[in-house]
Every structure is written in C-alpha cells, then in structure tokens.
C-alpha cells in the first residue's frame, strides 16, 4: 500500500505537524542500583496523520516505549527522565505527559491517545454486553446531559458500523463474537472519542492472516477517514513495511534507525535493520537465502560496551567496542535529511573507509531530495 503510494511520507517536513514528541525518554525496571535500564535516551516524533511502526526483536523495548510514553507501565517500571509532549493537531492543546497529575492524565487518556492492547480480545469484560461497554466508556468522558445515554448509544452503533460489525451485535456478549469481531470491537472502542493518536500493540498477533489483512486494511481506511496518527508495534517487519509511513527500529532499549518504510526496505543503513530484513523472505523478486541475525538479543542487565549491537554485527570494527553511537544523520547527510541512524559506519571521522555495499545503497530518483 504505502510502498506504492507514499503520500504522507513524501510531504516536506515543514508541512507535517508533530502530535507526539518523545525526547530523551529513559525507563528503568527496578528502583535501586540493580535496576534494568530498559530504555535509554529515546527520541521519537509522531506526526499528524502518520503511521509510525516500531519494530525489533522481543525484549528490545517496543512495548516499554509505548507504555512509558502513555504512563501505563506497571511496577516496577519507573520513568527516569525525558519528556513526552502531546500537541493536538486540531486545537493545539496538550502538554508534557510526564508532568501531568493523575486527573489530567485520566482525562487525557482515550480522548487524546487510545490504545488497542496486545491480545485485545481478552480486554472485554465477559459479563457485560459489547454495547454497554462501549456506552460506559463514552459516558465517562462526555459532559453529563439528559440524553447523554441516548447519544452514547447512537455513537456506539455508528462505531460498530464503522468497523464492519452488524448493528444488531450491540447486545451481544463477548463470547458470542469471533476473535476477529472482538478485535474490531476493541478498535471501535479505541476510536470512540476520536483520539488523535491510536497506539496498537500487536493488534493482529492472535489472528489468522486473512483476518489480519482485513483488520489492517480497516485500520488504514479509518485512519484516512478520521485522520488520527498510529503507533503500530509489531515484530512482523513485513507487515510494517506494507502499512507504516515511517519505521523506527529498536535494539536494546535504543532506537537504531528511524526512516520511511520505503527507505528502510530499499536501503537500510544500520546492520541490524539489514539483518531484520534478511530474516523473512522478500515480498517480491527472486528468492534469496534467509540469513537472519546470529546470536541473541543482549541481556539488558549486562550490556556490551560501546555499540550494543557490535557482538552480533558482521561489520563491527575496533571502535564499535568503545563508542556507543548516537542517533544522527546518515553518511549521505544532506541527500536524506529525514533519516537518522545510530551506527559508527555513518560517521566519516570514525570510519573513513568505504561503507559496506549492503548498507550503502545510494539514494536516487527525484522523490528523495
């Protein structure tokens, strides 16, 4: 979809309004000197109307990032620094979520940022009808009035219709719906208050591929109609390449590459991204060997020195053991201003030699300037 029609990603940077700006976010699990540093100095920006994919192996911090940014991380998680600024693209309200009090945060949730949880099918209470759960949620956030319940009911019907569920299902209990339908109900619920950001944490993992396709298409269609932004968390990189405008690749609690999905697919700049892309068969074109990535993700308690990826990196050189690269411009600098990568190969002062062929595909054509 997006690969063929990169409308949003191709917009010049000035025309894109940021709705969620994550700056230098750090998260620990645990409270004392033995705490695990699950996220370290993460910077990420979500623009209005954009689908931002978070990808990486299990345990790299994808979900931690999404839950920390919404302050939903359960104990022993604790945010140790940074800021998460929400700015409404509609009326400009917002603020730093990390400095909000409980009441502010509760009011902000669902209205501004909604979440579709991992295994959302089990997020429905089995003893209430789907309609009642939708109505309850809407009522909690709407000003009280005499016909509020009627309005909420009408809205619930509208929402069910929007996600393609027959209206007479409003009175059904969760167990009377199939897995895919329950997932749609959860999406409808997330959209009930017209949020500006929808965070989807592996929303299709428990579904079969046909249902997965339908749900993803539905999300994209709703996104175009309603104009919300999406943070899509998944370990299915091929799915992300299809639907995301921009992809942030995470490794060991850091973002190692941040680029449009087309750029990620065609010209990865980080060896880890290249490894991920070689871990599944290509969508089209001739078959190739699946190389994968040797080794396993690092133990966050005992991280390697320097670049956290160097023990598994085929291109690692001596400097990689000493310096932890920061997220910065690529080797091609001005030619691709929208891209960021955290790899020493992209720093000419450290790695003056030629960049490995696989990571050095030149930006070409007139679309990327």
């Amino acid at each position: 979809m997006t690969l063929l029609d990169p409308t949003t990603a191709a917009l010049p940077p000035r025309e894109r309004k940021p709705v969620l700006e994550i700056r230098d976010l750090s998260v620990d699990y645990g409270y004392d000197q033995n705490a695990v540093h699950a996220l370290q100095g993460v910077d990420l920006t979500l623009h209005a109307g954009e689908v931002l994919g978070l990808a990486g192996e299990s345990g790299c911090g994808k979900s931690t990032l999404a839950y920390a940014a919404t302050r939903l991380l359960p104990p022993p998680g604790v945010i140790t620094g940074g800021s998460v600024t929400f700015t409404s693209a509609r009326d400009g309200h917002g603020g730093d979520l990390l400095r909000m009090g409980e009441a502010e945060l509760r009011a902000q949730r669902w209205r501004d940022t909604a979440i579709v949880f991992q295994g959302a099918m089990n997020s429905l209470n089995p003893v209430y009808t789907v309609g009642r759960q939708l109505v309850d949620g809407i009522l909690a956030h709407k000003p009280r009035s005499r016909d509020a319940r009627e309005q909420a009911r009408a809205r619930a019907l509208e929402l069910l219709d929007m996600v393609g569920i027959p209206k007479d299902r409003l009175g059904s209990y969760p167990h009377q719906l199939s897995g895919g339908m329950r997932q749609r109900v959860m999406i409808a619920m997330a959209l009930a208050l017209e949020p500006e950001i929808v965070i989807m944490d592996e929303p299709t993992t428990a579904l079969d591929v046909v249902m997965q396709r339908q749900i993803v298409e539905q999300i994209m269609q709703l996104k175009d109609e309603l104009g919300f932004s999406v943070i899509f968390i998944t370990h299915d990189v091929s799915l992300l390449l299809e639907l995301a405008d921009r992809i942030a690749i995470m490794y060991a609690g850091r973002i190692v590459e941040d680029a449009s999905s087309e750029e990620v697919y065609k010209m990865p700049r980080h060896p880890y991204t290249a490894g991920l892309l070689h871990s599944f068969p290509p969508l089209r074109g001739p078959k190739r060997d699946l190389a994968g990535i040797p080794g396993s993700p690092p133990d966050l308690v005992n991280l390697p020195t320097g670049c956290k990826f160097h023990p598994r990196c085929p291109y690692a050189f001596d400097e990689c053991k000493l310096t932890d690269p920061a997220l910065g411009p690529t080797r091609f600098g001005a030619a691709e201003p929208e891209r960021q990568v955290a790899c020493l190969l992209n720093d000419e002062r450290v790695a003056p030699g030629p960049i490995p062929l696989e990571l050095g595909v030149r930006p070409e054509g007139d679309r990327i300037v």
Binding site: L72, P75, I79, G81, D324, A326
Partner: protein
C-alpha cells in the same frame, strides 16, 4: 550471558564483567530474603519472635512462683515486683511470663491444625468437583454455622481436666470452615487455568498438580488464613480463660484477667493487674497482622520487587501504582551524562 561469561574465565582482569557477576549473585540473595526488607513484616516478625522466646524460657526466667501467695497484696509496680502484685500478693510479671507458653501453644497449634484441615478440605473439594465437592461443602457449611464459642464451652465443660492442647484442638475443629470455603473458591478458579490443563495434558499425576501447580498459587491465602486462625485461637483461649470455663489454675493471659476481674481490680484502681495482659494480647495480634501484610506482598512475584524496595521507594518519594507510572528525575546525572555523550559525538 554465557557468551560474555567465557572471556571472563580466560581473562581474569576483566573487572567490568566480574562486577556484573557479583551484582547478579547479590540479586539472588535479596529476593530470597525479600520479606526481611519489608519494614512492616520485619517489625511483626521481631515482636512475634520475642513472644515465642518468652513462651519457651518464660517459666525459667520468672522471678517468683506465680502461685505463691504472699502478704504483700495489691502492690503497684516496684523494683521487687516489676508489674506489681495481685490482691493475694502473687507476682503479676511471673504470671504473665508463665502464661505466655499456654497462649502461644494454643494459638499456634490451633492455627496449624485448622489450616491443615481447611487446605485439605478446600483444595480437594474445589479440585475434584461433583459429589465429593458436594459432601465436603456440606460438611464445611455445617461447621460454618456451628456457633464456635458455645460449642467450645460445652466441650471443655464435658472434659473437666482439659489442658491447653484439648482447647487448641476444639478451637481448630470449630475454626477451619471459613478457610476451607476461601480455599475452595480459589481452587475452582485455578482449576481451569491453562497451566493446570497443560500439566494434565503432560500426564502429571493428580497429587503433583495439586501440590506443585495449584498450591503455590494459594500460598498467600493459606498464610493469611493461618494468621487469621492464630489470632482467632488466641482470642478464643483468652476469652475462655477470662470467663472461667477452662481451668483457672493453668496460667495464661486470660487467667490473669479472670482473677483481675473477679477481684474487681478496676474498681480498686489496680491498673497494673489487667493492663499488661491486655497489651500482650494486642501486641501479639498486631505482630501477626503486620506479618500478614508482608506475606501478601512477598508471595506475589509481581509485587515482590516493589515490596522488597519499599525503603528505596520511600526515600526517593516514588509511588508505584498500576496505570500511573512514576517519573523519578533524581537520576538526572545519568541522563545528563547520556546527553553529554550525544552532544560530544555530534
């Protein structure tokens, strides 16, 4: 981990990795004794330990024979009699010290026996279901409606020579039903969980499923049931002694209160006669309740790290809550250092 462990063996100078290993072993130790880091539980354990110690050595360290009648009646606390004397000149401190053993013995015995009965009946009836469940539920319902105290009075009345252990068993037999109901309800909800189904599919024998799959999930309930029963047993025993149903010549805190009441200590203003015994009962009850709080946080692995670090949280003013992740900026030096690195590299 193993990838990084190998170079350590080869290169003993790699201090960075060595520290990491040391941190790791420290973690293991901390989790094991996590309950001791919880201040509430610690206070409870210390107080209870003191009373258990007194129960063991009390009769030997008692300064006087608690039964010896002397002419020095109704003396207020003095260097000779730390807690004063009764109307008949008996030393009250000695009565309390000798009486501690009876109280603790009855409380703990009744607690253990009642907990055993309630676990067996509750787990079995929850797990087997069907007719077995019906019968066991019927029995526990019958015991639930039996008024405990009158029954205890009748039974101890029928057994005139009844000592502490008899009283303990009577309390246990009348006090297990409530725990069994709770245990049954929890087992019912655990029985259908996926990990139990998986154990069944793997061919684990029934006893293993019950004791190794289901029991660990009941630890918190069993522990709090045990502590609740001990409190109930101690209060019952003291009550029985206070109203004079059990032998008034066996010393326990209730007997002290019985004599204080029958000699009208309150009217005579002899506060030293009944206040210490009352405080002892309150202290044991409080210590058991504090331990209960600690157990709750300790047996749940998800709460354990938060519970074990209660002191750290208090010091850093972090309030760990589900749904509102705390923000702690005290570690600003680390963040600043990271930022410094970044800027230096750009």
């Amino acid at each position: 981990m193993s990838v990084q462990m190998d170079p350590v063996a080869a290169d003993p100078t790699s201090t960075a990795t060595l520290t990491a290993v040391a941190v790791r072993s420290k973690r293991g130790r901390r989790v094991q004794f996590g309950i001791l880091r919880n201040r509430k539980a610690m206070v409870g354990i210390v107080v209870l330990a003191i009373f258990i110690l007194l129960a063991i050595i009390g009769p030997w360290i008692a300064p006087y024979n608690p039964d010896t009648v002397t002419p020095e009646g109704l003396q207020p606390p003095s260097p000779e009699h730390w807690l004063g004397t009764t109307a008949t000149g008996q030393d009250i401190l000695s009565q309390l010290l000798v009486g501690t053993r009876g109280v603790m013995l009855v409380g703990l015995t009744a607690g253990i026996v009642a907990t055993l009965i309630s676990v067996v009946v509750g787990v079995v009836s929850g797990f087997v279901g069907g007719i077995g469940d019906e019968i066991l539920s019927l029995i526990s319902n019958v015991f639930l409606v039996i008024p405990a105290l009158p029954l205890i009075i009748i039974i101890t009345g029928l057994l005139p020579g009844a000592g502490g252990l008899t009283v303990a068993f009577v309390i246990a037999v009348t006090g297990w039903a409530w725990g069994a109901r709770v245990m049954r309800a929890q087992t019912l909800s655990l029985r259908r969980r996926d990990f139990v189904e998986a154990a069944r599919a793997n061919g684990e024998p029934l006893w293993r499923i019950v004791f190794f799959e289901i029991m660990p999930n009941l630890t918190a309930i069993i522990a709090s049931g045990f502590i609740g029963t001990v409190i109930f047993a101690i209060l019952s025993e003291v009550t029985l002694a206070f109203i004079g149903v059990t032998s008034i010549s066996d010393w326990n805190w209730g007997t002290v209160l019985f004599w204080a009441q029958s000699s009208q200590a309150l009217v005579q203003g002899a506060w030293w006669w009944f206040v210490p015994a009352g405080l002892c009962i309150a202290a044991v009850g409080t210590s058991l309740t504090l331990i209960n709080f600690g157990i709750d946080e300790f047996v749940n692995p998800r709460l354990r790290s938060t519970a074990a670090n209660a002191g750290v949280l208090r010091r850093k003013k972090i309030r760990a809550r589900i749904g509102f992740t705390p923000v702690y900026r005290g570690a600003a030096d680390r963040g600043a250092a990271a930022r410094g690195d970044k800027e230096a590299q750009r």
